[in-house]
Symmetry: D2
Subunit: 429 residues, 4 copies
């Protein structure tokens, strides 16, 4: 997409839509909810709101808008996340210590930057357009990534509060049918051989999805759906968390030291398992996909089940073959304006399904550069490449991912012990 | 003081005055300021507001008011500070992770408890009065202690924010006269021999001030005023922070590891020293007492100056002899309602002065039980006695201490490395 | 290899040769050198001597020798490394706290087990042979792995001692020619396409080298030799350790926190770089391969040089194509009996060389299971599979690897920040 | 004591006797026992042997012996403990990583320094004598302090080894009479009022015992003997380690985090309590004083018993009044040459006893300067004064203290959580 007199209105529409969604996600919060950073991974919601704005200010307004006056001379220090090229910044672990700027001041910051962005779009010179569009698109994609993090971080902040508050009044909880049991999973064949994976096309994709390249895989079989809560409970009741045999060595150290015994957000009350959802504490839906588990748990479950996880190449090739539809439940999308269930739901389809838009599926692939990978030049080169170590690839997008942010080649990545994203398990054999 | 039909209105007046002052201290804050816990020592302001309320609920309403219905069944878990006898609680280091209850909910909690307290006072049975008055008095003293902590904790939260916001608009900053230099300190004689220290009387005093008992001290001389910022800067410019000779071994380890080089809140900007005060960044008043220094720094300064700190017995005996007036600057007092300087001020008096109400004076006395000390029974026994190890006694009260909370026998105590209270230095020889 | 009446004498010969070499490696040590564990990765030499013995005792003697009486009932607790299936054990981080058993007692333990092993081999039943040979072979391979660790751990213990003692008197130091400069590296073509990697054959290979499987790679070019000390110094003098641009994000955190500035064992004395070798401190040979660098440093060097590291598949395919000879310098080999240089040497060959037996070459491949990988059953299943996370693959073997332990398919693995092995850099483009 | 032609032979005799005793204490050790530092408090035995030698080299030979050539130029770096004035040194926590110099080299170092000391004494100039004697005496006292630490550090190293080896063959174990029960303790009156404590006299005493000064104490009663193992077990069986009420707040944190449940070296085997002694594991003597407990445990025991610990002034005044004899069991003394029990023994005397030479008695007094205290000039000023914070005073000397190192005014000091010295409990009321 290139900005032309015709496309400009469109891109402003996109800009407004995406920027508005960020504020919509934060709308149900109280000012106090915007402050804590209960673990280093979880950033304060107002920080997300400001950091995404700082991104436009830093990479676009300061570069393209002549005479642009930054909103506040210290915001670059406060809201730079990890760009060494952009200078000093608040240490990541200290984000939760900052009560100021307030939410109100940050909303003013957003309004100011939005206004200046509109002004810039109006007066953009033709020779700036190509470069502008590159940063502009990345700015929007970046904000969408933070929308997903906003949802998972809000869930963490509220879900670890002893009061277990719900995120927003008026949503309908997921209806749970504890009587019915979903049919046994089946394993569907995927044809091996030489395949091409990675992004091909003209739309946006991150540098880490490129270049497209050939890989050879063996024939294998893929589970037609995600592992359910009921299935995961079997693993738990079979002593899964107490038997080193299923666990990687580093994982077992954590299981013992931190006394893992269930997915994040599960808690046992009077002998019954409940889970915190954005609706508050709920009974566990036996047929819904298990979520909020680490790679370590996904791998241990697979060992226990006598199966294995897929590699990212296998996953992408299976998607090429089965052409799944996107799950329609993604709640961070436009639909967030309508009260609806804020959690991953059971899905009773019979073909290969739940591949995209339910939970991120842990793969047994490290997050490394594709053959021929080139980092972006300049500060954007810090976006993806510098994290290519000690992280595992997840595929498929989750119910918290913006719908138009999901695609088959998308590579998400997290350390193997992280659980606070909507993550899940799909098996292969 | 015992509650009688006559005293009851008085005690309610006290109660209302003290409770209102807590809320007055918090009034200038934004909701976001109520949340962070940037270091373990500093509690979120709303936590102080709720915890002092929980104290009345737990130790008075639940005991004395028939049929009392707690405001929320989880608040005991959330707002119990350290009373093992009262049950489980949020770990101290996790207070800053709790966005809920909100400030508004906590103000509702305060209103509810206040109302129930009034009701209780109305219907108190004569046989309850003695016991009631004991807890009631402690509840108020406890809240006054937290008022001082509120001020120092707010100062920490705002003063460590990169924006260095001021606490409240409209206060006059301390007027700084950088031309004038206060006269050299003189050392005034204190008569040694057998003296009695500790609390004697019928008013309130903490258990740790009792019993009064005899101590023998040698004749000594006491500095007639506090060490000033200008004097402390001489120590700094003489390499005080870079010479192990002045420091206790444990202190030197911290100086090196944490790169200490000035009191807390001082920062050098363009070659000039400024300090964060509740009015924002200010030039340093050379004649004002140095404050926000640890025991370790006070002791190192004394070594450098060829003097020493007092013991707590010496300090109390000097006060008996010189009968100092309370400094009238205490800003956490009723005067908080009037705009006034929110920091310790220079004082140009010529007799022995600044002993009470300016800064807490570090003594070279460990916080240990007085001979014959008895802990309170029950949960209140956890109030003071269990902290009698690895802490140093401070005397005199500070500009942040409520005026009617300052008395010559008062023993405050903190670990030797803490700096965030309004602490200062007085020398002896 | 299967034990038959004919092979038995051979296997005992192997056994004796390998067991003797362990003791030969330790022979120059003083008893005191056998005790410390200066970092968690480095085990005390006597621990290696006992643990390799425990391996034979636990997996062979206890299983195959009727009425076998363990040498000491507590040695299983003391010398089990990480086998959860075998029971409790001394925590890894506490190995250096154990002065007992003494070296002498451990040599007795070795002699006892060796004697029992001989007895067992004598009386082995035909139906035991297959199973016996499997464990026996692994026991010897295991001991060879520990021989390499012995050398690198001894180097660490001696090389971090302020006295920088040499390992053994009488060895000739590497001759360093600081005048001569090796020719520029050239990049040799490797043909891409579908290739098979992984172990095929009847000899021993670890489970993690199997199964052999097809991979597709692009054409690429491989550096004909290893990166030299002189080249690495250019990176250093060009500010390589002070420019975040070359480093992975996690690496940069370490570089700054731990103030990395050169390979391990390098130190600057009077403006001159020296390195600790097993001969003591030596001037750095500009033409020798740089060694004792982490994956992070290898990757940063490659970024600085505008090149990249190989993947393990690329490396193995290049070896198939260029069929390099094993470097003859491996000092942990039989040659250890002859005084010779105990370090990696410069090599002036002009074809693709130094691929095997000089330094382990870091690849940009995570240590993960090969497609179709199956863990061993039982305790041996803990040998490799459970470490397949957060480690990078190294290929080629080093000058410290026993010669008959090096093969093209061998996968070694270490976390990306480790430096104490003989590791090095080969680039690709 | 001043060196004169007559005293010189005597001082050499003292020197030889004390130096020989250090080596005698180490004689039963294996070379390997000399290396570990299992916790930061415990130094490797060979380090003690070298450090005490370094003390004579640094403070005497380098100053008084013209042309003295240090034994090794790096030993100052390796064996300086904490003297900032003497320059850089190996970090305390790294002492256990040093296998070199070996025990043999250190014995050579000792012999070299001893020889040079004799030479110096021969040629000492009259005008050097006073200064020399001061350092010489401190050097010997210093070595005696390390003799006690040697014993407790050896006990730690051997006693935490899973093999629980005994220190020396041939000693008789303490005979334990589990049938007999020692009579109930009685509380003997001590007369209060004004008393003088601190060292007065011409012999040696540390700076921290001076100046003698007056203190006022109340009348009190002192337990006539030490608390026994049987009594302490009652505390344990009454849930002492599981009831926060008896513990200081900081103590309770440790009890819970580290799961304290008995004195150090106690372990329960098959339901029976044993303790590691230098004879190996032994049944616990119910009548012997409990030992290896922290201040925190002593204080908790006192709370449980409804009593309290003494202050150091009370202790010293009680000794003035009761004039106890030194226990004759001190095993680090000359008697170490004879096989004898290496542990604190039951003592059935009926007067006030066990005050000196059994176990160090924890007092509820912080280790602070006496009124009028002056630190030594120069490096020796670092000996005592810089540790006067966050430590508690212990009095009386233990069975591991050299006999001629025990005196009523002696102030030993350790942090409140330390247990590895021979410490015990005496109560007051």
């Amino acid at each position: 997409m290139r900005a032309t007199p015709d496309t400009i209105p469109d891109i402003l529409q996109d800009y407004k839509r995406i920027r508005a969604r960020t504020e919509r996600i934060c709308a149900p919060l109280r000012a106090e909810d915007h402050v804590p950073q209960p673990v280093i991974d979880v950033s304060p919601p107002k920080w997300h709101m400001a950091h995404t704005t700082w991104f436009f200010e830093t990479f676009i307004l300061k570069k393209f808008l002549l005479g642009y006056k930054p909103f506040h001379h210290l915001y670059n220090y406060i809201f730079n996340s990890y760009y060494e090229s952009i200078g000093d910044r608040v240490l990541r672990e200290n984000r939760g210590f900052l009560s100021r700027p307030t939410v109100e001041e940050i909303l003013d910051y957003r309004a100011y930057v939005d206004e200046q962005m509109e002004e810039l779009v109006d007066c953009l010179l033709p020779e700036q357009e190509a470069e502008f569009m590159k940063f502009f698109t990345i700015g929007l994609q970046h904000e969408q990534q933070h929308q997903e993090l906003l949802i998972t971080d809000i869930k963490y902040i509220l879900g670890h509060n002893p009061l277990r508050p719900e995120y927003e009044k008026g949503h309908l909880a997921v209806e749970v049918d504890t009587e019915y049991t979903i049919p046994e999973a089946v394993y569907l064949p995927v044809k091996g051989g030489l395949h091409t994976i990675g992004y091909i096309g003209e739309s946006f994709a991150w540098d880490n999805e490129k270049p497209a390249h050939q890989v050879y895989i063996n024939d294998f079989k893929i589970q037609n759906r995600l592992v359910t809560n009921a299935e995961y409970m079997k693993f738990m009741y079979d002593g899964g968390y107490h038997n080193f045999r299923y666990w990687l060595s580093e994982a077992w150290g954590l299981v013992e030291a931190e006394k893992w015994e269930a997915p994040m957000y599960w808690q046992r009350i009077d002998g019954e398992w409940l889970q915190y959802t954005l609706h508050g504490l709920q009974y566990i839906d036996p047929n819904a996909p298990v979520t909020h588990i680490s790679f370590f748990e996904a791998d241990a479950y697979a060992s226990w089940a006598g199966k294995r996880l897929l590699t990212e190449a296998e996953w992408e090739i299976a998607v090429q073959q089965y052409k799944p539809k996107l799950s329609m439940q993604a709640f961070a999308d436009a639909e967030i304006y309508q009260p609806q269930p804020l959690d991953v739901k059971a899905d009773y389809a019979t073909t290969c399904h739940q591949l995209m838009g339910d939970v991120w599926e842990w793969t047994y692939s490290g997050y490394f550069p594709y053959p021929g990978y080139k980092r972006e030049e300049g500060a954007l080169g810090e976006y993806n490449g510098k994290f290519m170590i000690n992280q595992m690839v997840m595929r498929g997008g989750s119910c918290a991912t913006p719908m138009d942010h999901i695609r088959p080649t998308y590579r998400n990545f997290f350390p193997a012990d992280k659980k606070w994203q909507f993550t899940g398990i799909r098996l292969a054999e």
